[in-house]
Structures are given as structure tokens and as C-alpha cells.
């Protein structure tokens, strides 16, 4: 069976060939969806049970030990905290809260039974981001499957600061700000995540126990 391409068929194919444009947002959504899928798999109960309690305990202790170093640095250098990013009069920024809480967690770690991992109360964490010209800003991270629908930020018209208070479980979280539903931006005042997924910018948030 021959494939006779005539002029008409060439014109038809020529009209169908141009690649669609304007899909940058959709492409970014693909990467976020895939990252969310990875996160779901990573956190699925089946996989968690496979790892075993001892592995979790070692990993948790190592993570919290690293967090303790971060917390100590932040506590010793209060000028690097979120003070500069919040409105006048605010004095309980997220990183400082997280640093104190993580340091406290590390102190508890030595005397805690690994089986007590289930106790993980949600902690209120305020995030603040300066973006005076943005129309919308949302917080996306591993705690909401990188879906910004659940964490819109509120803009203070005087300062141009966006803020949101999240309820997060104790532990290490990676997050970023989604500006105008298009641009993913790392929190410039928080530690950069070394394991940023899919090249996506990410910042680290450490949440301790109450």
C-alpha cells in the first residue's frame, strides 16, 4: 500500500504540524502533579511499613539532629529570622517559631520512645512573602501535595506583604510560593531545599513539637 502524499495532503499536514504555544503554565502543572505523585508514593502506608520502625527511628534522629544545627544557628542569629519580612509590630515569625520548636523536639528526642511517633499535633506556622506587584500568591509544598488551592495568601495593601498561617505537623517540610499561578519562587528568607524536586525551587521549614 503506497503512501501517496499529494499537495492537498501536504497542506493538511502543514496546518496540523505547528506546535501549540502558551503552555508554560500547563507544563509547570505537570511537574507539580508528578511531584505530588512522588510524594504520595513516598508517604504511602505500604512503603512506610516496609521500611521498618528502626529505619524510621534512625532517619528521624538524623533529621532532627541536622535540624538542631539549623535551629541553633537561627537562634544565635536572630537578625536572620523572619523579622524583616513581617509587618511592624509582628514578632513571632515562622522560622524563629520553627527553630525554637525543633530545638525543643531534639531535647525530647533523647528521652522519647520511638513508638510515640503517632503524637503529632498540628502547629500553626505563619509564612510571609514580599511581592507588592503580585495578583495572587499561594503556598505550595509537600504538606498540601503542591496544590496551592488550599493555601492562598492574604495581601496587606500597605506593605505589599503576603501572609498565610498554615497548620503543619512536626517535621521537615519543603515549600515554595506560587506567584500569579505561574511562577514558583523559593522563600528568600528560608533555607534552600537541597532536594528540590524536578528543579523546582524549594525552601525548608522545620516544625517542632508543641
Amino acid at each position: 500500500m503506497s503512501e501517496d502524499r499529494d499537495e492537498l495532503l501536504d497542506r493538511i499536514v502543514g496546518a496540523l504540524r505547528p506546535l501549540p504555544e502558551g503552555h508554560a503554565e500547563a507544563k509547570a502543572r505537570v511537574l507539580i502533579a508528578v511531584a505530588a505523585e512522588r510524594e504520595r508514593v513516598r508517604r504511602s502506608p505500604a512503603r512506610a511499613t516496609q521500611r521498618g520502625r528502626m529505619t524510621r527511628w534512625i532517619a528521624g534522629a538524623a533529621g532532627l539532629a541536622a535540624a538542631a544545627v539549623v535551629a541553633a544557628i537561627l537562634l544565635l542569629q536572630p537578625s536572620r529570622s523572619y523579622d524583616a519580612s513581617v509587618g511592624a509590630g509582628s514578632s513571632s515569625p515562622a522560622v524563629r517559631v520553627a527553630a525554637v520548636a525543633v530545638a525543643d523536639s531534639v531535647a525530647r528526642l533523647a528521652s522519647r520512645d520511638p513508638a510515640g511517633d503517632a503524637a503529632s499535633a498540628l502547629q500553626p506556622i505563619q509564612l510571609v512573602f514580599r511581592a507588592p506587584t503580585a495578583t495572587t500568591v499561594r503556598v505550595v509544598g509537600d504538606f498540601n501535595s503542591w496544590d496551592g488551592e488550599h493555601a492562598p495568601m492574604t495581601r496587606d495593601p500597605r506593605s505589599g506583604l503576603w501572609s498565610a498561617t498554615l497548620s503543619l505537623r512536626p517535621g521537615r517540610h519543603v515549600y515554595a510560593f506560587l506567584v500569579d499561578d505561574t511562577l514558583l519562587v523559593r522563600d528568600p528568607r528560608a533555607l534552600a531545599a537541597r532536594d528540590a524536586d524536578f528543579g523546582r525551587p524549594g525552601s525548608v521549614l522545620l516544625v517542632g513539637r508543641p
Binding site: 500500500m1 492537498l8 503552555h23 508528578v34 524536578f198 523546582r200
Partner: protein, 198 residues
């Protein structure tokens, strides 16, 4: 394997993938090994082509974007099982074609219960550009093809897959695929000859 170039996730030129990128086989190999940057490069390299195919298959932008997103999520899930001796593109198009068939079937079921009245307006002003009218006619003619013929025609003539690769992508035999493409070409010629003024 580590890829050193920074990714461009939200900036897009809308052009064909840069030929200076890492060779695709290396990207696939790295992505299979869990390199998330390599996977992001694969998305960057193939997204536009996948969206083009899905748009022609589904005739709806949001349905097409959803199908492509679902394709890459499933691709990522299936990568560990991917045999690298297989060609990557037919494998990718197999997932994509499956998603488009599923989305198309869902759309047909939805259309069956929609009342008349939602027929999209088509421009008919005297100054309407002929090139736009031609593209619209082609879009209608493509949409009127049976799904298997449309799929085969697009894979062969728009995506430039070989019949052997199409067989991998569709699960159909080469002879059957050639017949589908021929019938699609005949139907398009019949419908569009008059419009094109030939």
C-alpha cells in the same frame, strides 16, 4: 547522572525542543534512575508534541492538557519498568494515546446528554481570514474521522512515527495501521478538496 543546566519551568518559547539538549536516551536513562531534573527535561522536550497530538485527538484545550498531564504522571510511575532497548517515543505515545482514548470516550458520553444550543459559533464575517477558515475546516475534518483512523493519521503524518513504532504505540498490526492511515487520507481528501478550491 547529574545534569548541570538549570531548568526553565515557567519560561517557554513555544518552539521545537532545543537540539543541543542532552541526548534523549541519556535523559531517559537518567530519569529512569530517579534523576528528577532529567525527568523535567523530558517533560520540557516532549510536552509540546504531546499537547499537539492530544489537541488534534480531543479538539479541546483543557481536555488535552489534562490528558497530557495524566500521561506524564503515568510515565513517571511506569519509568522503572521501562526497558531501554525499546524505543522511548512509541512507548510515550502509547500512554498518551490511551489517555486520549479514555478522555475521548468520556467526552462522547458527556456530549450524548448535552442539549443542543452549545454549538460553538464559527466566524462568518466577510473579512474572515481564509487561513483561519482552512485550519478550522481541517480541524472539523480531523474530528470527524473515526478515532482509530485519526490516531493513526496523526501518528504517521504529523508525529512522523514509523509504522513499526505505531504498532508499538497502538497495539495494532502494521497492515491494519496502513489501512487506517489510507482511509483517513481518503476521507480528508474527499472532505477538504471542495473547501481548498481544488
Amino acid at each position: 547522572m547529574t545534569l548541570s543546566r538549570p531548568l526553565q519551568l515557567v519560561r517557554d518559547t513555544g518552539t521545537e525542543a532545543d537540539v543541543s539538549r542532552e541526548p534523549r536516551s541519556l535523559l531517559v536513562h537518567a530519569a529512569k534512575a530517579g534523576d528528577v531534573r532529567a525527568f523535567a527535561e523530558l517533560v520540557d522536550a516532549y510536552y509540546a508534541r504531546c499537547l499537539r497530538f492530544a489537541l488534534h485527538m480531543l479538539s479541546d484545550r483543557s481536555d488535552a492538557e489534562e490528558a497530557v498531564q495524566d500521561t506524564f504522571v503515568r510515565l513517571h510511575r511506569a519509568l522503572p519498568k521501562y526497558e531501554e532497548r525499546e524505543a522511548f517515543e512509541p512507548w510515550l505515545f502509547r500512554i498518551l494515546a490511551n489517555r486520549c482514548r479514555t478522555a475521548g470516550a468520556r467526552e462522547r458520553r458527556r456530549a450524548e446528554v448535552v442539549e443542543y444550543g452549545d454549538v460553538p459559533e464559527r466566524p462568518s464575517a466577510p473579512g474572515h481570514d481564509n487561513a483561519i477558515a482552512w485550519r478550522e475546516e481541517i480541524g472539523l475534518a480531523i474530528a470527524a474521522l473515526p478515532t482509530d483512523q485519526r490516531e493513526a493519521f496523526l501518528m504517521r503524518h504529523v508525529e512522523d512515527l514509523s509504522y513499526e513504532d505505531m504498532a508499538v504505540a497502538t497495539g495494532a498490526g502494521v497492515s491494519a495501521l496502513k489501512m487506517r492511515v489510507k482511509r483517513a487520507c481518503d476521507a480528508l481528501r474527499l472532505r477538504l478538496t471542495e473547501v481548498s478550491g481544488e
